[in-house]
């Protein structure tokens, strides 16, 4: 169990580090979501149950950073974690580019889900919303491309 947690903790630390450092490079880069970038390789390797649980944890952390209330990203990440875990079990996906594409799609879906919840709760959305979503998805995909080789190496060690 402890061995299983090590790669996750390393990825979480990486995400937290990136989250802390990117505003220093540019405040505009905060539209990226490093926790989602971590969730994609993590959920793809953890299965449906792991995806849901890590989605809940990472979503809650994301909410603590980005949202006025806890639950927006938590809910969305749970669903995304489940879908990604399911896909990880069905498909044999490797390589940086496919992971980046999954991350891009996950960001867009997450944004759509969170926007839906915002509207449902009567909260205003910032504009231009979809421009930010597009930019954020591209940067998050790039972050996933950075995290994926780390995750691959850590999980390989873990399996060995």
């Amino acid at each position: 169990m402890a061995k299983r947690l090590i790669p996750v903790l390393v990825l979480l630390l990486l995400a937290a580090g990136v989250q802390t450092l990117i505003p220093l490079i540019s405040g505009d880069l905060t539209i990226a979501n490093p926790y989602l970038a971590v969730l994609v390789p993590l959920a793809m390797r953890s299965g449906k149950m792991g995806g849901v649980l890590w989605g809940a944890v990472l979503g809650t952390v994301s909410d603590a950073y980005f949202s006025p209330f806890v639950g927006f990203h938590g809910l969305s990440f749970c669903v995304l974690g489940y879908v990604l875990g399911w896909m990880g079990g069905k498909l044999l996906i490797g390589g940086i580019l496919p992971m980046a594409i999954f991350a891009w799609a996950a960001y867009v879906l997450d944004a759509a889900a969170v926007a839906g919840l915002y509207l449902l709760l009567g909260l205003p959305l910032a504009s231009p919303f979809w421009v930010f979503v597009l930019l954020g998805s591209l940067i998050t995909a790039a972050l996933t491309a950075l995290f994926e080789p780390v995750a691959r190496r850590l999980y390989r060690k873990d399996q060995a």
Partner: protein
Amino acid sequence: MDLRPTARRPEIALCLLVLGFFVLLTFQARQGSRSVLGNMALAAFGPLLSAYDSASRLTREGLQAYLWQKNAALESENLAAENRSLQGQLELARPLEKEVLTLRELLQAPKPQGYQVIGARALTAYGAPFSRYLLVSCDARFLIPEGTPVMGPGGAVGHVQGASGTLHKVILLTDPSSAVGVASERAGVKGVAVGKGTDMEIRWISNESDVRVGDMFVTSGEDGVFPPGLRVGTAVSVEDGGDYLKKITLSPSSKMDQLTWVLLLRKTVG
């Protein structure tokens, strides 16, 4: 109660979590503030957020302060250089402005009819203590005959006595060898103004003549050198003499030691 088969089903976990998050969201939205869980999450990640915020602000504000200071220093240097340049230009412009004013005054002075007016640069006054000359320079195209009258902004100045190339020697009205026929503007009393060095005296005016201190004397035109009507000077002292002739001292209307430009009045043919 065995919950293991249910707990292992990810779909149930997903539904429960989604439902839980949704209920949590609704509860928080109704409350209008962060929930206990939200506050706990914030408390847990607070130090990280503070560290990020402090580091970010320090870097950004430090960079901005540095850039501002650098720009301010550069701007200050530029302004100082510009200021020095402008001061230099101002120093250069001052004599030009004075010269322009002199030329304007000279050009606005009334010119006699039948004379061609030729501008000449007054170079230097010389000849003291015995004589009072002025060296002027004018364009070599003009032939300036001897005896040509010279006027300045204040009136008559003297007449040309000799030339060498573009340079001409002018005998000033204050030179002891200079004599010019004058008449008072007020009463028309005529006499001859003779130079005394710094001022002039008027001779050949009888004690009975009406001359007062402050009377302006102009050229009468009877000496055959100066055209009539050019201002010569103002009477500063008037006394009756024992030889039936008044002793009148005249202060020249032109400031002979401050001349920069003069006009040579050459007679036109016909």
